[in-house]
Amino acid sequence: MFPSHMKKIKLTLIVLTIDALLLVGQFALTTSRATDGDRLAKLNQLQAELNDQNQNLRLEVYNLSSLPSISAKASAANFAPANTVAWTPPPVALAP
């Protein structure tokens, strides 16, 4: 009778220990995964921000190198539009 009772207690302790270990393991695993999820969310947000920055820089480059922008800057710097003058030489040599 006594050994059988001891066996039951032992078994109960083993089961309780396994339960506790599994509980701790599950807790550790979910914490780890939750941290990964948090990191993933932050990385997604960072990616979106970088994409926006990239897009804005691209637009800034376009705006700075557009002809209306360059023309306005040239005018502000007192550059005048070029004027082509075609010189037609006289048909015969002129005597001095």
């Binding site: 995964r33 997604n44 926006d52 376009y62 557009s66 037609t88």
Partner: protein, 561 residues
């Protein structure tokens, strides 16, 4: 005792049955609804934007690209009701008046959400955020931006929303190539936790977005900028109501630039009248006036009914047809004038002679052969073509006046295309803009459409010589850049209104190509009702030559002497 026990047993059984039925209801009957509700609570579905394709110039510079703008809104319950806040925010708005008015309205409102301004740029958003004013909020607002400004508005069109609330291109290239430019949006379905963080070991489903294709066009942004600047100057100088300039490569049919003023800003198209959305160069009909003489003369020479040496025996005075008298435009008559002189003097009576030599049927056939009365095929959405009357409805007076460009309606692009055929030794090009369609991993080259031979090269050369002579010896010679061979023709067309011509309004034009012996570009300039001079020779022609001088320099074309 047994009876009471039985009742109790029955009660328990009923209670158990009720629970079982209830469980059956939730687990089986409502399982789909509950699963859906649960799924909605811990999964999120996000549409992944595909991004519309860019429209690029010939040098691969973006004429239109995507931009991320923001809608500014306020929560009036939190927004401070002071004028100091309005003054703080004022420098960040382009259209201060409208946004400020909305802010004042919001301050007096009891709503929870009030839109203040659309299309704020990221720097504007950052600046406003730094003010840390309570109640301000932003929502992303994807849009299109135009780095080269609005000068190409008529070529590009704009993007609005259709009745289903989806982005759709309207007018110009955005409208014509809407299917290619629109991408296919993707979708991301992902499980998330209570803090909206993705669950890594959860189920997710991702359908990758397919971005829209980008278009490479033949638009040369230097040409586009040059013609827009010259056109604005000309409208101001000649007090015109509006005007257009179109430039085309007459050999390939590629459109190099196209400008029309007054125009609209495609980024803010809603601020303009819808009447301004249509490109007048491809959709508005006008009477070409004397520029049309080149087409009729080329037809007559090709048909062999006249030669450059032919003289006009009926050109000594006005001509009467069906009771109507046709007079010279400037009151001068040139007895026994030659064909080149008819073009030089822009002689209406001489053109009536030419049309009589050609005959009605042949002349109408040639007009159709030059592409009038039909679409040019340009890849812009809103192209239309005025129809030509059936042959049996052309009275004698009609085809007589048509010979000098009156009583026949064309679009500006049809006219430019027809003169390009003369420049291209009789081959009629098809105007077009897109040369490449670029997708994620492929580049599709679109070949130039094959031009069709409509008149003989010798006829085209003969008319080219007449046009060169007209430029070198006509009234426009004073404006011509020296040292260049230019073929051109002026036009001053009256505007038909309610069965007669408006005595006070004209469309002045100049059409031509250069260098005439190896054409690099064909160009048409039109000015609506210029003042005080209404003649094409003193308004449109100087504008044409001014643009041509800049284009010679840009293309590196030296003077021939």
């Amino acid at each position: 005792m047994t009876k009471r026990t039985n009742w109790l047993l029955l009660l328990f059984c009923l209670f158990g049955l009720t629970i079982a039925l209830r469980l059956l209801y939730w687990q089986v009957w409502q399982s789909v609804n509950l699963s859906t509700q649960a799924s909605l609570e811990h999964t999120s579905s996000v549409e992944l934007s595909s991004g519309r394709g860019d429209i690029l110039s010939a040098d691969n510079f973006a004429l239109v690209t995507n931009s991320l703008n923001y809608l500014l809104y306020v929560d009036p319950r939190q927004f401070p009701k002071t004028t100091a806040v309005l003054n703080q925010m004022a420098p960040f708005f382009d259209s201060t008046a409208s946004a400020q008015e909305n802010l004042i309205t919001a301050q007096n409102s009891n709503l929870h959400w009030f839109a203040i301004a659309h299309s704020l740029s990221p720097p504007q958003k950052t600046g406003l955020e730094q003010l840390k004013i309570p109640g301000l909020g932003f929502e992303p607002e994807p849009g299109r931006t135009y780095p080269e400004g609005s000068s190409s508005a008529y070529l590009l069109g704009f993007v609005g929303q259709n009745t289903a609330g989806q982005d759709q291109g309207y007018f110009g290239l955005e409208g014509f190539y809407n299917r290619e430019l629109s991408g296919r949006p993707g979708q991301l379905i992902q499980e998330h936790d209570a803090f909206n963080r993705p669950i890594v070991i959860g189920d997710d489903y991702r359908l990758s977005p397919q971005p829209g294709h980008s278009l490479v066009t033949s638009i040369d942004r230097t040409v586009q900028f040059t013609i827009t600047r010259h056109l604005a100057d000309a409208i101001s100088k000649y007090h015109a109501e509006g005007g257009t300039v179109s430039v085309m490569d007459p050999i390939t049919g590629r459109i190099l630039g196209m400008a029309s003023l007054p125009g609209y800003d495609p980024a803010n198209f809603g601020d303009y009248s819808p009447d301004l959305y249509r490109n007048p160069i491809i959709s508005d009909a006008y009477e070409p006036g004397s520029t049309f003489k080149t087409v009729v003369m080329a037809s007559a020479i090709d048909a062999g009914v006249v030669t450059p040496e032919t003289t006009c025996p009926t050109c000594s005075g006005p001509v009467t047809i069906d009771g109507d008298t046709i007079v010279s435009g400037d009151g001068h008559y040139y007895p026994n004038t030659s064909m080149p002189d008819i073009i030089l003097h822009s002689d209406n009576i001489g053109m009536v002679f030419v049309s009589r030599q050609l005959g009605k049927t042949k002349m109408l056939n040639y007009i159709r052969r030059f592409g009038f009365g039909q679409l040019t095929g340009v890849d812009l959405q809103e192209e239309s073509s005025p129809s030509l009357k059936p042959d049996d409805q052309w009275h004698d007076i009609d085809w007589a006046t048509a010979s000098f460009g009156q009583g026949v309606a064309v679009t500006r692009l049809q006219m430019l295309r027809a003169v390009s055929a003369i420049a291209n030794l009789g081959k009629l090009p098809t105007p077009h803009l897109v040369t490449q369609i670029i997708s994620q991993d492929t580049v599709k080259n679109l070949p130039d459409p094959q031009p069709q031979q409509i008149i003989s090269p010798s006829a085209a050369s003969a008319v080219t010589q007449m046009m060169i002579r007209g430029v070198n010896n006509g009234e426009v010679r004073y404006y011509k850049p020296s040292g260049y061979l230019i073929a051109g023709k002026t036009g001053t067309a009256q505007i038909p209104v309610a069965g007669h011509y408006d005595p006070n309004r004209v469309i002045s034009s100049f059409i031509g190509f250069a260098p005439a012996d190896n054409p690099k570009f064909a160009m048409l300039v039109t000015l609506d009702n210029p003042k005080p001079s209404q003649w094409g020779s003193t308004t449109a022609a100087p504008t044409w030559f001014g643009i041509a001088s800049d284009l010679f320099r840009y293309f590196g074309i030296p003077p021939y002497n």
